[in-house]
């Protein structure tokens, strides 16, 4: 009996103490907003960065709960569509410009003009232009990339070259010279994105709702590529692959390629994997096409999917502005060797000033930062099944470049396929080409 009383008294004491402690401790703030945001291919390298962003934002905004989820890039679209259909979309999602264009056409995104407000002036105008479809803006720019020309100075020396190419024609001429004098490939353009190459060179892919890439100018461009291919100037492996980037970087790292057209991030990879090649790498600005556009522009942004609760939108907008604000963008750019898309961060001395012992990667960032003003994402927008059409174009270019078919004939056949398909489509805004 005594024991039972003792036990009861102890329980009462513990309960009282717990009650007092609970009363004394500050109450956690009531959650006012749960914001889930998605990125692609950021883990594990940028995990500390995103975790610190979440931590800092939650600390500064009591009651707001942020959840960060990262997906591989080839999975994120399926996940996103599934969640939109299920009515539980994330509040913000990382997209590139062609994806955003497609989703905006399918009305799967919410315009963010109202959320941008006066902060619109903070972003580089060209980046917001890239995200504006039918007069509405669909994303908060996060970072962009632009290509630079990295070149192997030893191969250049052996080929009798001393500086980076200034034009695309010169780039092809260099490639032929490298092949002729060293037996190595000069360049490895991503010919699966030949449509972007045409546009970069000021040649339309579609005009008046019809494919027009069989003009004499288009044919001449493909013939130049064919001549360079025949001379051994183009890297053959993965030349027409959907993603030739890994093969191209490997070839450069292996000393088999004279020039690498890639964003500064690639130089970081070369620095880590092939120190000997990195040590003999020179950097030049990527040539501007006749359009004045720098090649390799690739804007990544945060979009707001359709179905995000209207009551949550102000909190989402506030967080998106923080996530893509000057400080966040600059911090991320420093980590990832990419370029910020806000005016202030893009002008930061970190990007433009070269340290005394600057390596190729730092030089690439400085060179790229200058080109950023000319950076745009080049793609053909507003066409259903565009990917299928693009493949028929790539196949024609492949046939022409590799000498399997006459260039004019191959392009004519592809144009016929395109026009047959385009004829069945109602082009709302025929090919707003970037």
């Amino acid at each position: 009996m005594k024991i039972r009383n003792l036990l009861a008294a102890s329980m009462a004491c513990v309960s009282m103490a717990a009650g007092l402690a609970a009363a004394a401790a500050p109450l956690p703030p009531a959650t006012t907003a749960n914001i889930e945001f998605w990125t692609f291919s950021m883990k594990p390298k940028f995990t500390p960065y995103f975790e610190s962003v979440v931590r800092n934002y939650e600390a500064a905004n009591p009651g707001v709960k942020i959840e960060w989820i990262d997906f591989p890039w080839d999975v994120i679209q399926t996940k996103l569509v599934t969640r939109i259909v299920a009515g539980t979309p994330p509040a913000l999602v990382n997209l590139n410009v062609p994806w955003a264009d497609e989703y905006a056409r399918d009305q799967l995104l919410t315009p963010i003009d109202a959320l941008l407000g006066p902060a619109r002036a903070n972003y580089i105008p060209g980046t917001l232009q890239d995200l504006t479809f039918k007069g509405k803006t669909y994303g908060f720019p996060m970072y962009s990339n632009v290509a630079v020309v990295a070149y192997n100075t030893q191969i250049f020396k052996a080929a009798g070259l001393s500086r980076g190419p200034a034009t695309f024609d010169e780039q092809l001429a260099y490639a032929r010279q490298i092949a002729e004098r060293t037996g190595k490939a000069g360049i490895a353009p991503a010919l699966s994105k030949i449509d972007g190459l045409f546009m970069w060179q000021g040649l339309s892919v579609i005009a008046g709702g019809k494919a027009v890439f069989n003009s004499p100018q288009h044919v001449a461009l493909v013939q130049k590529l064919a001549a360079t291919y025949k001379a051994g100037g183009l890297l053959k492996e993965s030349l027409f692959a959907e993603d030739n980037f890994p093969a191209v970087v490997d070839a450069y790292k292996g000393g088999r390629l004279g020039m690498l057209l890639a964003p500064p991030t690639a130089l970081k990879r070369i620095e880590a994997d092939a120190k000997d090649i990195y040590a003999i790498t020179g950097v030049a600005a990527a040539p501007l096409g006749p359009t004045g556009i720098a090649d390799g522009g690739w804007l990544i942004h945060f979009a707001v999917p359709k179905g995000v609760a209207p009551a949550l939108l102000p909190a989402v907008g506030k967080f998106a502005l923080y996530l893509t604000g000057d400080a966040s963008q600059l911090a991320f750019a420093k980590l990832a060797s990419v370029f910020p898309t806000t005016v202030k961060a893009a002008a930061d001395p970190f990007l433009l000033a070269l340290p005394a012992n600057a390596g190729a990667a730092e030089k690439a960032v400085a060179v790229g930062a200058v080109s950023m003003a000319h950076s745009h994402t080049l793609y053909v927008a507003g066409i259903d099944d565009y990917d299928e059409l693009r493949r028929s174009l790539v196949k024609a270019v492949e046939a022409g470049v590799t000498g399997k078919q006459d260039v004019q004939q191959a392009l004519d056949q592809a144009v016929a396929i395109w026009n047959k398909k385009l004829g069945k489509q109602k082009l709302a805004a025929p090919g707003p080409q970037r």
Partner: protein, 292 residues
């Protein structure tokens, strides 16, 4: 009366035992197949209302150069079937002998079967590379003057991919034939030996007829695997160069999972399935063991 009741009880018992597996099959196989087949006749989209479009998706894919090329390439993959079967029988006969280290050889031939396709892709990517092992060997043996574009030349790439598919499948069929060989009663071969049959005659008159049911099953499985080839394509060439390795099922995968055009993907899958069923029925009819 009692016998009928016992029979009914036995049937009931059989159904009860089958029920769990049948339920799983119904939910995860039969229903998706039936619903998927239905969707091939609609304009189903994850984001829009669905409507019936009849044969539009089939018209679309047959009007599509990539699918037609893919279908032709899938049919070319069938060339691989006799090669795999003959190779697997030869290997099985070889490893059926009691030789020193034969267990190691059996395991070695089976390794490709259990190797994941991504590893296979990386490995054969190196082998087929312009500066890879295969070109090195070919050039050392003076079989080629310059590196061959195994995966970049449209006249070679399909055969390179087919070879990898063959290499992956050989071990699997070898094991099946090995099991069948070991099930052939020894006394039949001994009787033939006593009758004066040489090894070649024993093989053709006893081994092959006894293997016939296994040949039928393996041929059907091999035909289905050939028509359904897409994994090797994905890891080695992604359909290139010049769509020369695009297969019908790779088209379905590309449309359905990469571009979320599900009705087209399902229509393509239905076409492939129909061909698979037709060829399987033909195999059943012509390769079925004949009992005299």
């Amino acid at each position: 009366m009692k016998a009928r009741s016992t029979l009914r009880g036995a049937r009931m018992q059989a159904w009860i035992f089958l029920a769990p597996a049948l339920t799983l099959l119904a939910v995860f196989s039969f229903w998706p197949v039936a619903y998927g087949s239905l969707l091939a006749f609609t304009d189903y989209s994850l984001v829009r209302e669905m409507s019936w479009v009849g044969l539009d998706n089939f018209r679309y894919i047959f009007d599509n150069e990539m699918f037609v090329t893919g279908l032709k390439n899938s049919l070319k993959f069938l060339l691989m079937v006799p090669v795999v079967q003959v190779g697997a029988i030869a290997l099985a006969v070889l490893v059926n002998n009691q030789l020193p280290g034969i267990a190691w050889f059996r395991a070695a031939f089976y390794v490709p079967v259990v190797t994941t396709v991504s590893v296979v892709g990386i490995m054969w990517g190196f082998m087929f590379h312009e500066q890879g092992t295969l070109n090195y060997v070919f050039m050392q043996l003076r079989l080629a003057n310059a590196p061959l574009g195994w995966l970049t030349d449209d006249t070679l790439a399909l055969f390179a991919v087919m070879f990898v598919t063959l290499w992956r499948g050989l071990g699997w069929y070898m094991v099946m034939y090995l099991a069948a060989l070991q099930a052939i009663p020894k006394d039949m071969q001994e009787a033939a030996l006593l009758d004066g049959a040489n090894r070649w005659q024993q093989f053709w008159r006893i081994t092959v007829p006894m293997l016939r049911p296994t040949i039928m099953v393996c041929s059907i499985l091999s035909v289905l695997a050939a028509l359904k080839a897409y994994q090797e394509v994905d890891v080695l060439t992604q359909g290139g160069p010049m769509n020369s390795t695009f297969t019908a099922l790779y088209y379905a995968y590309d449309q359905g999972l990469k571009h979320l055009k599900l009705p087209r993907a399902l229509a393509a899958s239905l076409v492939v399935s129909s061909i698979c069923i037709a060829i399987a029925l033909a195999c059943l009819r012509y390769l079925k063991p004949r009992h005299r």
